[in-house]
């Protein structure tokens, strides 16, 4: 199953290679990995999306906690959380198709961030499902380039049972 892990780490040189090396050395998957500083000095937050059987996920979490520079690991799948990813993509938009592309832009609340006579560059934010739906819809126009941030995630303040 896919899991989203929030990993607080000491922000020091080499910490990324320790985490990445752990995944490659032990044959764990990384679907996406995002890292950036937090409000606290010297601490960064990594959001890692990984995939594996439950025993593997358990090992991944334990192995991450064992790294000396890892402060805390939260498995978002065990709580209610929101996750978002941002993508930038460049899609073909000719005279014939431009209107339809823009309609999709509208529906998905994307932003147009760059224009040329034949292409549109879009910015979109959403959870995995939304991003997938968007790219699926745009693919037939021809996506020329795609850059994604990978997921970032946050625990919901109210952990309401459903």
């Amino acid at each position: 199953m896919r899991h989203t892990l929030s990993v607080l780490v000491e922000n020091e040189p080499g910490v990324l290679s320790r985490v990445a090396g752990l995944f490659s050395g032990r044959g764990f998957n990384i679907e996406s990995l995002n890292v950036a500083p937090t409000l606290e000095d010297g601490v960064s937050l990594m959001t890692i999306v990984t995939d594996g059987e439950e025993l593997i996920i358990e090992q991944i979490k334990k192995q991450l906690r064992k790294l000396i520079t890892v402060i805390k690991v939260v498995d978002m799948n065990e709580v209610k959380y929101v996750d978002r990813e941002m993508i930038l993509l460049k899609v073909n938009a000719t005279e014939q198709t431009r209107a339809e592309v823009l309609r999709i832009v509208d529906i998905f609340r994307c932003k147009v961030v760059d224009v040329s006579p034949t292409e549109l560059a879009l910015e979109a934010t959403g959870d995995r499902g939304k991003i997938k739906a968007l790219t699926n819809l745009l693919v037939r126009f021809g996506i020329k380039e795609l850059a994604r941030t990978g997921s970032v995630a946050m625990r919901r303040s109210m952990q309401i049972e459903d």
Binding site: E10, S17, L55, Q59, I68, I71
Partner: protein, 563 residues
């Protein structure tokens, strides 16, 4: 007063209780070597950096203290890697200091530059590159703390040349504060009680001990538990010595070359009490059929060891000693009411029967010396009062099968990595820790050639280590696999060109002995063992002898090949 980085390093080592270090100099560590004689640190000059790390490792295993090695940058550092990986696999507390090119040159492919922090990342518990002399003291404090606490392991500290030359105020922190590192030492009481309940309910319990029992000094607690309840004990190779090997409750080693009785006991036990082990594949054989009837209690300080390979009914994350203390405490009142040992009596009878029907054995026919005999003779002569190091291969298996380890820290062997060339330098380290004890390396003719240069080290420092070569003129263990599983195609395992080990020993300034006939075994071994000098004994043994029992790779523990 301001000190140089080199002085800070040496002063801090002294503060950490270090008095003996193993090393080899070079350009990047010149400042450190320059200051060395000002400190009460005895430096043992090895002849290869791998030897320095193995010696520090042997020192640590034998004494329970943290071993220290000091090597230069580049090739000095890479030469140390095999030693570091060996210690990492077996959780041995070491601190390795490597020289590095000056900070300004890092990343420039400078002369003798390697990214040793990058190279060693996956075989150290943690590592550091010190970029500012102001961070040096704190880093050293952390390095020693990390190496010995929690699940121990090697920690590497990389020291650029300009950092050890720079000066700063010296302040050595009293304590370490690391928010991201907090090993769990104390067992959860509920888990302990669950474990105790399982033990009370069991009919065929078996204790399985590993290196963690030795690392946490828990042998007394373990022995108490086993003897009070009269539960049989088996050990992984790393666990030998954690329970007296001459106690009738001890079944010997389990796993690929374990005893028949130990493997059968694992196969039939209904409760495996695993303490300080990690269920390595050499121990479990085929996982699906490992301990098929057993519930499992697993005590280990490292959460990643638990449920990594086998599923566990009662996981207990704890220091082994503390967990065993807690279990013993729970049993004190129970034992006054219930006769648990009697409940396990028929199980012990069954075990006794396996032991009697299939003891460790070998065919002793004709003139040729069997390697097992030599090990048995060593046990007989020393009465188990010796520190035994081993190389890797058949010699290692015979040394672990036929010598009984009465006490912890008397067997030094590369378990996880299986490093040929480990035993001799490790024996040197143990002899440094205990100058008056008898230290023996049980060696193979192949392995001993991997670090033979350390004979100089031993002779120079008057370390009377004994090397007993079980010389079968082949890479015996590999030859055994070729015989059994590769159509007897002995591809590059039978060594045609053998050095004359006696002359070799003498050339290094050590004593050399040779044993060629059975009747020479006893007198020559006695003579060599009682010599005050470094000695090599070349024993010519049967070439085709195999190690049995053997569980073929991928088979279940009950599918042993026997003699």
């Amino acid at each position: 007063m301001k000190l140089t980085g080199a002085q800070i390093l040496l002063e801090s080592m002294v503060k950490e209780g270090v008095d003996k270090i193993f090393g080899y100099p070079g350009g990047a560590v010149l400042d450190i070597y320059h200051a060395l004689s000002d400190y009460p640190l005895q430096h043992f000059l090895v002849r290869h950096e791998q030897g320095a790390v193995h010696a520090a490792d042997g020192f640590a295993r034998a004494s329970g203290r943290t071993g220290v090695a000091l090597v230069t940058s580049g090739p000095g550092a890479t030469n140390a890697i095999t030693g570091i990986a060996t210690a990492y696999m077996d959780s041995i507390p070491l601190v390795i200091f490597t020289g590095q090119v000056p900070t300004k040159l890092i990343g420039n492919d400078a002369f003798q530059e390697v990214d040793i922090v990058g190279i060693s990342r996956s075989c150290t518990k943690h590592n550091y590159l010190v970029k500012d002399v102001k961070d040096l003291a704190r880093t050293i404090k952390e390095a020693f703390y990390l190496a010995r606490s929690g699940r121990p392991g090697p920690v590497l500290v990389d020291l650029p040349k300009d950092v050890v030359a720079a000066r700063t105020e010296y302040y050595y922190p009293k304590q370490v504060s690391m928010r991201s590192y907090n090993p769990t030492y104390k067992a959860n009481k509920r888990q302990i009680q669950k474990g105790v309940t399982l033990i009370k309910k069991a009919k065929r319990p078996l204790i399985f001990t590993g290196g963690g029992v030795i690392a946490s000094d828990a042998h007394a607690e373990l022995t108490r538990l086993a003897r009070q309840l009269e539960i049989p004990v088996t050990s992984s190779m790393m666990g030998l010595g954690s329970f007296p090997g001459n106690d009738p409750l001890h079944l010997g080693m389990l796993g690929m070359h374990g005893t028949y009785v130990a493997n059968m006991a694992v196969n039939y036990t209904d409760l495996l009490i695993a303490v300080g082990v990690r269920f390595d594949d050499r121990v479990t054989g085929k996982l699906e059929t490992f301990a098929p009837e057993a519930k499992i209690i697993h005590i280990d300080i490292d959460p990643t060891s638990i449920r990594k390979n086998v599923s566990v009914d009662v996981p207990i994350v704890s220091d082994c000693k503390r967990a065993l203390e807690a279990i013993n405490e729970e049993f004190a009142p129970i034992l006054s009411q219930e006769d648990l040992p009697r409940k396990f009596a028929s199980w012990r009878d069954k075990i006794r029967a396996w032991e009697e029907s299939h003891p460790l054995s070998y065919e002793d026919n004709g003139e040729v010396i069997k390697p097992q005999m030599v090990v048995e003779k060593l046990y007989e002569i020393t009465k188990g009062e010796a520190i035994i190091a081993t190389e890797v291969g058949q010699n290692q298996m015979w040394a672990t099968q036929h010598f009984k380890y009465h006490k912890p820290r008397t067997l030094l062997t590369s378990g996880g990595l299986g490093t040929m060339g480990y035993g001799f330098p490790a024996a040197i380290g143990a002899q440094v820790a205990f100058p008056d004890k008898l230290v023996i390396d049980i060696a193979g003719d192949g392995s001993i050639q991997m670090n033979i240069q350390e004979l100089t080290t031993a002779v120079c420092h008057r370390l009377p280590v004994k090397i007993i070569i079980l010389n079968n003129c082949c890479l015996g263990m590999v030859r055994q696999w070729q015989e059994l599983f590769y159509d007897r195609n002995y591809s590059f395992t039978c060594l045609e060109q053998m050095p004359d080990f006696v002359k070799l020993a003498e050339a290094f300034g050590a004593e050399g002995y040779r044993i060629q006939a059975k009747e020479e075994i006893d007198p020559v071994l006695r003579q060599a063992l009682s010599s005050p000098y470094t000695a090599v004994v070349d024993v010519l043994v049967e070439q085709g002898e195999n190690v049995y029992p053997m569980v073929p790779s991928g088979a279940g523990l009950n599918e042993m090949l026997l003699v």
